[in-house]
């Protein structure tokens, strides 16, 4: 009976063991069981009483958190000496100890050396209380200023864009209430549905107030103007101001139009400014950009792959813009890609297609590779590595050929360094040691020797980092594939977030264990989802259009990469790393091939897998399993 009652919300009492422990701590040795029971009941009651009084002080202190001073005050109320000096940096300052069959929680009182305290410099004096006034509302309308919460929270914006009928904008609601048109006001947390059974989404008027218009003008002028200080300020404002929700459509049009015009005019500086605006918008935590991606993404992609972005391609550093835009694109994919809009796969397709085109210029080629590379090591592994040989030969042709223009040469150099930069770290992870130049040459052709040196460098770096970085603190600031995980079995320990295509957190476990331990079981549930669909029917790209309904050919191949032509886009490195192939029984490879460049695609399984993007695109999931590993089941990725 008594045990049951203990479960009850309020009738919880302290365990008798605590009584014993406390008695011992004050020197009472053998406390009888009955005394313990009586004590625990009494003590529990008193503690509850004090807690109830302390609650009163909390309420009057206009706080939500009970503090130790509340307890002190409650004790004072009962004429009990307060617990002086009880404070702790930690939330729960208790330590746990066990031994001799008993478990104890105790409050650790460290001995502190007085001279330490005296000699430590005084902490900074906290800022004094100050008053600040702002307008919470002006004649019933809440102004959008940083002091006020954003008019529509990000969640609201999101639900609005995904489920447009459910939510009413708070601004309109309030307006309705002010005009008293029988709507009544509701709390801004979207309770609007209670009001009527049938609710049409109110027509939204996109009128900007005079202040907002002025702001818009100022900001846009500053962003593309000549004064760098002003621009920094404007960008800062875009990135932090909570009230930009209303102006978002204007900004996105501004950017998209700006890019359209300036690409034609080859105005590199302006394009850079516009991209920085995109970055600022994406950084603003209160904005939900999804509704405007159809304008922003084409602009960004243009800046990645456009043939010419500047007037003097041989001198200007348009490569940096491409890199920057590629990073933006990757961030965009990471944030907004869903199974419905499939941004990432569509982008990947677009870029790959353009890359595979023989006629693509070096500049655009660079952009494509950069765009793909930024999407993460998975993409590099499945899409870029297989093409290294081809790309290498093309570079070789330019570098060693005689009749090429300077521009082509520069382009080829940049592509080469880009490939080396991105591929080296990925190879370092997936390829077992040792790195021999010969082996690399056979695998990767012209770029092989250079890659080899880069990989070795990457490995030593990784090893260095592994030593420096502590076990649990793997902080990674930039989702660049150059960051590596230590090789000592830390795989998947939580830190690295790669911009993987689909959110498989452990994509870094791709890295193979050391060759000496091929049988070491790696995390079994690793999914490699490389690419989703093959068709690009629903694309809204303006700058780069996708051709629709390509037939996809899934490829399972464990063929050594050296023999690959254009067709096998995904391959598993099995030739050089024998241990790797057999070690993971449950891996699933979902692979989509790219359209074959040559018409002579004679794939054994080239089945019709073209799907329309608008329907759930991943489901015909071109899923391929490692055929030789036993017990593999075909499983759709979702």
């Amino acid at each position: 009976m008594a045990e049951e009652r203990r479960q009850k919300q309020c009738s919880v009492t302290l365990p008798t063991e605590s009584m014993k422990a406390m008695a011992e701590s004050v020197g009472v040795g053998q406390l009888q069981e009955e005394s313990c029971v009586a004590l625990s009941e009494e003590v529990s009651y008193r503690i509850k009483e004090i807690a109830q009084d302390a609650l009163k002080f909390m309420h009057h202190g206009k706080r939500r958190k009970l503090t130790t001073s509340d307890i002190d005050n409650a004790l004072k109320l009962k004429n009990v000496e307060p617990l002086y000096g009880f404070q702790s940096q930690e939330f729960i300052p208790f330590r746990f100890a066990s031994g001799g069959g008993r478990e104890l929680h105790f409050y650790e009182e460290k001995e502190v050396d007085l001279s330490d305290i005296i000699n430590t410099p005084l902490p900074r004096v906290p800022l004094d209380v100050s008053l600040k006034a702002h307008w919470l509302s002006i004649e019933g309308v809440q102004p959008s200023i940083p002091e006020n919460p954003p008019p529509a929270t990000k969640e609201q914006q999101k639900t609005e864009s995904t489920e447009p009928l459910k939510v009413v904008k708070p601004g309109q609601e309030e307006e309705g209430a002010i005009q008293g048109k029988g709507q009544g006001a509701t709390a801004p947390d979207g309770k609007g549905k209670e009001k009527g059974s049938i609710r049409l989404k109110p027509r939204s008027t996109h009128e900007l107030s005079v202040e907002q218009q002025l702001y818009y003008k100022e900001i846009t002028e500053a962003c593309v103007g000549s004064c760098e200080a002003k621009r920094a300020e404007a960008l800062q404002s875009i990135a932090t101001d909570p009230g930009l929700y209303q102006m978002l459509p204007r900004f996105s049009t501004f950017i998209s139009e700006g890019v359209r015009v300036n690409v034609v005019q080859n105005n590199l500086a302006l394009l850079i400014y516009l991209m920085r605006m995109v970055k600022a918008l994406m950084d603003n935590p209160t904005l939900y950009l999804e509704k405007y991606l159809h304008e922003l993404i084409p602009a960004v992609v243009t800046c990645i792959v456009s043939k010419q972005l500047c007037l003097r391609p041989d001198v200007d550093n348009h490569w940096a813009l491409r890199d920057f835009a590629a990073r933006l694109m990757a961030q965009c994919c990471k944030t907004f890609s869903t199974t419905t809009n499939n941004i990432q796969s569509r982008i990947t397709k677009t870029l790959t297609k353009s890359w595979l085109d023989e006629k693509t210029q070096w500049t655009a080629r660079y952009g494509c590779i950069a765009g793909l590379a930024e999407l993460g090591p998975d993409v590099i592994k499945t899409l870029i590595l297989p093409r290294l040989t081809v790309e290498g030969s093309r570079i070789k042709a330019v570098m060693e050929g005689s009749v090429v223009s300077n521009i082509d040469k520069i382009g080829a150099e940049h592509v080469q360094s880009l490939l080396l930069k991105h591929c080296a770290s990925v190879i370092a992870k997936i390829r077992p040691q040792p790195d021999t130049v010969e082996q690399y040459r056979t695998d990767y052709g012209y770029l092989g020797p250079m890659l080899c040196s880069h990989v070795i460098k990457a490995r030593t770096q990784a090893a260095l980092q592994a030593q420096q970085v502590n076990r649990t603190t793997l902080t990674i600031t930039q989702p660049r594939p150059t960051l590596s995980v230590s090789q000592s079995g830390l795989s998947g320990s939580g830190g690295p977030r790669t911009p993987s295509i689909i959110k498989v957190p452990s994509s870094l476990t791709l890295m193979s264990p050391r060759p000496g331990t091929p049988s070491q079981p790696s995390p079994p549930a690793t999914k490699y989802i490389v690419m989703a669909t093959s068709a690009g029917t629903a694309s809204t790209q303006q700058v780069i259009t996708l051709s629709s309904s390509q037939s996809a050919s899934p490829v399972t191949s464990t063929v050594p990469s050296a023999t690959s032509t254009l067709q096998p886009l995904v391959k598993v490195e099995s030739g050089s790393g024998p241990g790797l192939a057999a070690s993971r029984p449950l891996q699933k490879y979902i692979v989509v091939s790219l359209p074959p460049s040559a018409s002579s695609s004679l794939e054994p399984k080239s089945s019709v897998l073209s799907t329309s993007v608008s329907s759930t695109p991943l489901d015909p999931g071109i899923k391929l399993e490692r055929s030789e590993s036993p017990g593999v089941s075909t499983q759709s990725p979702h």
């Binding site: 009738s11 009494e42 202190g61 307008w135």
Partner: protein, 748 residues
């Protein structure tokens, strides 16, 4: 012991001031003592012919206990009087009965404050000298019984095993009655449950009590949850001794309002079933207010219930309340011309008309509901006050008319870097100063106008200035001390309440240290520390005419003070738990207090009587606001609801739901059209007060019975919701031109 002495002095003070003999200084124990002393007259006067079962020996015991107590506190005169009276027990009972017919706060004369202090002492959990006397006719004389112990004794005792049966039997019965009676009779459950549980605990049937609690606590209304939590932790008789909440519950009667039909039904059932146990509890511990007419519906009952001790008795709200405003003093407006000249010269004839109207309509017509001008003595107007009045009138002509279509602008004053320490805020009426009370015991004053805060020069320097000059008031200020804010040090605990005097020369603050302090805003020093509460003081406020102020605190009384007396003029006792907020009526003749017992009481400053009890909140009340015309009252509580009350009729007018956390601030706009509420949920909400009051239909029946039917129209009345950025709203204030100022500290 200090408490006792303080109490005694209080009492003498009371005698000096010579108000109505009793009534001021009572503590609930005493009030209940009166009731307990005479169960038969009080119940027979109201509940009908039922003669109480309580016999003479028990009364005797109680009397002895009181005598004992008085002797212990050396109140010899009172002892003498009581003994003389007690010599003729019949008479004594009668007088007592008459006394206590006053609404819940009637009581005996003299010695009252002593009792007050005594009960406070008993709360400090000093164990009473003797073991608790046996529930019934034990020999008491040697035992030195403690008053509270006797009062709270559960005399009879049934078979503990049968309690469950009794209760479920009643439950079955009530569930089977007609729908119209069921809601009314269900009210009985909660008090009955509590008393049966306490009876079991009191008589040391611990396991039965636990089982009883387990079985039936889930059935109780959700708004009693907090009390049930207290109750559940109490499982031993020893625990009962120190627990004031339960002491109150046992000694005061839970008030229920039940229609005659329903009551007859219940009575018949209990008598048929010979269910004496329950019948006895109803007789002894419940006060059933029987009315003729339709039984109330569930929603009607729910609207009014929720307080610690049930609803207010009907007669408690019958007294006449002069809620009208005092006549504004006739002030010649010499500055008027200046004003006109300053603004425009040709508008002279135009200007005069509105002035006359506004002046005339206010001053000439004497409000029939207003108290006499000299009902309580008010301070004379000084010249500076008159100047201020003129300023006020000038400002009010520029006031924006608010309404549904015209919402006020809100200016939010955020206290930064306060580290959650802001506990109280006040603005001056002219909105020129802000004061903040902090948990670190400081009081800070800011000037929000360009005019900086300056101290008066030192005495030596003051000697040097030319006293005849016109700008002497300007000259006495020390320019060197000018700053935007000043800090007032003096309290030794968090400052929970703060209030500016109307003339802006003084500031009051009350604190956890039990004192109320009066500060001068000329010298920025503490002038007086008013001691008397001994426990944390939760709130204080100046009278709208200055001079008087009221304070209320953990000792469950509110005190009325005058700034030049260091002892309180009145003690308003009757609340069963902490007095959490106190407000003056705009005509200064009444004081309203809100409490943790979830009731609001309106007190007459002149007589010290409680003239209104409002029940309906389901949590401790944290803020109150009178409408500018003095007719209505708004209250906000931890339950997040704002209730509107009609003071004249003693009725609930409206229930404003919307806040999701404690409402800490309420304020009517200057013309009473809009009610602003601020809450812990970081929002300021605006409500259409005018509509709420217009919608009220008061026919004779509802006025007579107080059974209002509230429609749920919160959504219609809500005019706007304004989120702040994680800044709980602590205070609201309408400027004279109807700009709303809000204040709170940013909680990072």
């Amino acid at each position: 012991m200090a408490a006792v002495q303080g109490g005694m002095v209080d009492e003498k003070e009371e005698v000096d001031i010579k108000t109505e003999p009793q009534s001021d200084g009572l503590m609930n124990t005493n009030a209940t003592d009166g009731r307990q002393l005479s169960p038969s007259p009080s119940s027979s006067s109201s509940a009908g012919s039922t003669k109480s079962a309580a016999g003479a020996p028990e009364d005797q015991q109680t009397l002895l206990a009181v005598l004992q107590f008085l002797r212990k506190n050396k109140l010899t005169e009172s002892v003498e009087i009581l003994r003389r009276e007690a010599g003729l027990p019949e008479d004594a009972l009668d007088t007592k009965g008459a006394d206590c017919s006053a609404p819940s706060s009637g009581g005996t004369a003299g010695g009252v404050d002593g009792l007050d202090a005594g009960s406070l002492l008993s709360r400090v959990a000093v164990s009473s000298s003797a073991g608790t006397p046996a529930p019934t006719k034990a020999a008491v004389a040697d035992d030195q019984p403690d008053v509270s112990v006797v009062l709270s004794a559960y005399s009879q005792q049934g078979d503990p095993a049968l309690y469950k049966v009794y209760y479920s039997d009643l439950k079955k019965f009530i569930e089977s009655v007609l729908d119209c009676h069921r809601a009314e009779l269900s009210q009985v459950f909660y008090p009955l449950f509590v008393h049966m549980y306490l009876e079991l605990v009191y008589n040391n049937h611990e396991s039965e009590a636990k089982a009883f609690f387990e079985k039936f606590s889930g059935d109780q209304e959700c708004y009693y949850e907090d009390d049930l939590r207290v109750l559940s932790s109490l499982t031993k008789k020893e625990h009962m001794r120190g627990n004031e909440t339960l002491l109150d519950f046992r000694t005061s009667k839970f008030v229920l309002r039940i229609s005659r039909d329903s009551y007859q039904l219940l009575k018949r059932h209990l008598q048929e079933r010979q269910n004496n146990q329950i019948w006895n509890i109803i007789q002894e511990h419940l006060y059933i207010d029987i009315f003729d007419g339709m039984p109330r519906s569930k929603s009607q009952i729910d609207a009014m219930s929720g307080s610690l001790a049930g609803e207010a008795k009907r007669e408690a709200n019958k007294a006449k309340v002069y809620y009208g405003l005092l006549k504004e003093p006739e002030i010649e407006v010499p500055l008027d011309d200046e004003d006109e000249e300053a603004e425009n010269e040709e508008g002279k004839p135009k200007k005069k008309k509105p002035k006359k109207d506004s002046m005339g309509s206010k001053s000439k017509k004497q409000d029939p509901n207003a108290p006499l001008q000299n009902r309580i003595p008010l301070p004379e107007l000084k010249d500076s006050d008159k100047l201020d009045k003129i300023m006020y009138m000038k400002e009010s002509t520029k006031r924006i008319r608010l309404g549904r279509e015209n919402l006020p602008s809100i200016c939010f004053y955020t206290f930064l870097n306060a580290y959650q320490g802001l506990t109280a805020v006040d603005f001056t009426d002219d909105s020129s100063l802000i004061a903040g009370g902090f948990a670190d015991s400081t009081v800070r004053v800011w000037s929000v106008t360009p005019k900086k805060l300056r101290k008066v020069k030192s005495a030596a320097d003051l000697n040097l200035i030319d006293k005849e000059s016109d700008d002497v008031l300007e000259r006495i200020m020390d320019e060197k001390t000018a700053s935007e804010s000043k800090i007032l040090y003096g309290h030794s605990g968090p400052v929970y309440g703060i209030s500016f005097s109307p003339d802006r020369n003084y500031l009051l603050s009350c604190s956890e240290d039990g004192t109320v302090r009066l500060w001068s805003l000329l010298t920025f020093t503490c002038l007086v520390g008013y001691k008397g509460h001994n426990y944390p003081v939760w709130d204080t406020q100046f009278s709208p005419y200055g001079y008087y102020f009221v304070s209320g605190g953990h000792d469950r009384v509110a005190r009325l003070w005058a700034t030049d007396h260091y002892q309180p003029l009145r003690i308003f006792a009757g609340h069963l738990a902490d007095v959490t907020c106190t407000r003056f009526h705009p005509n200064s003749n009444y004081v309203v207090t809100g409490s943790s017992d979830r009731t609001i009481r309106l007190w007459d400053v002149l007589t010290g009587n409680c003239v209104r009890i409002f029940t309906g909140h389901k949590g401790p009340i944290h803020t109150l606001a009178f409408s500018p015309n003095g007719k209505f009252l708004a209250s906000g509580a931890t339950d997040g609801r704002v209730l509107l009350w009609d003071i004249g009729h003693g009725l609930m007018v409206s229930e404003l739901k919307g806040h999701t956390d404690t409402v800490y601030a309420l304020r009517f706009s200057r013309d009473g059209e809009i009610l602003a509420s601020g809450s812990m949920d970081n929002t300021v909400r605006l409500w259409d007060a005018a509509k709420a009051f217009d919608d009220l239909e008061t026919d004779d029946f509802t006025a007579a019975t107080g059974h209002i039917h509230l429609q749920d129209n919160s959504q219609e009345l809500l005019l706007g919701t304004y989120m702040s950025k994680s800044t709980p709203v602590v205070h609201l204030h309408f400027t004279r031109r109807n700009l709303l100022l809000a204040a709170g500290s940013y909680a990072a």
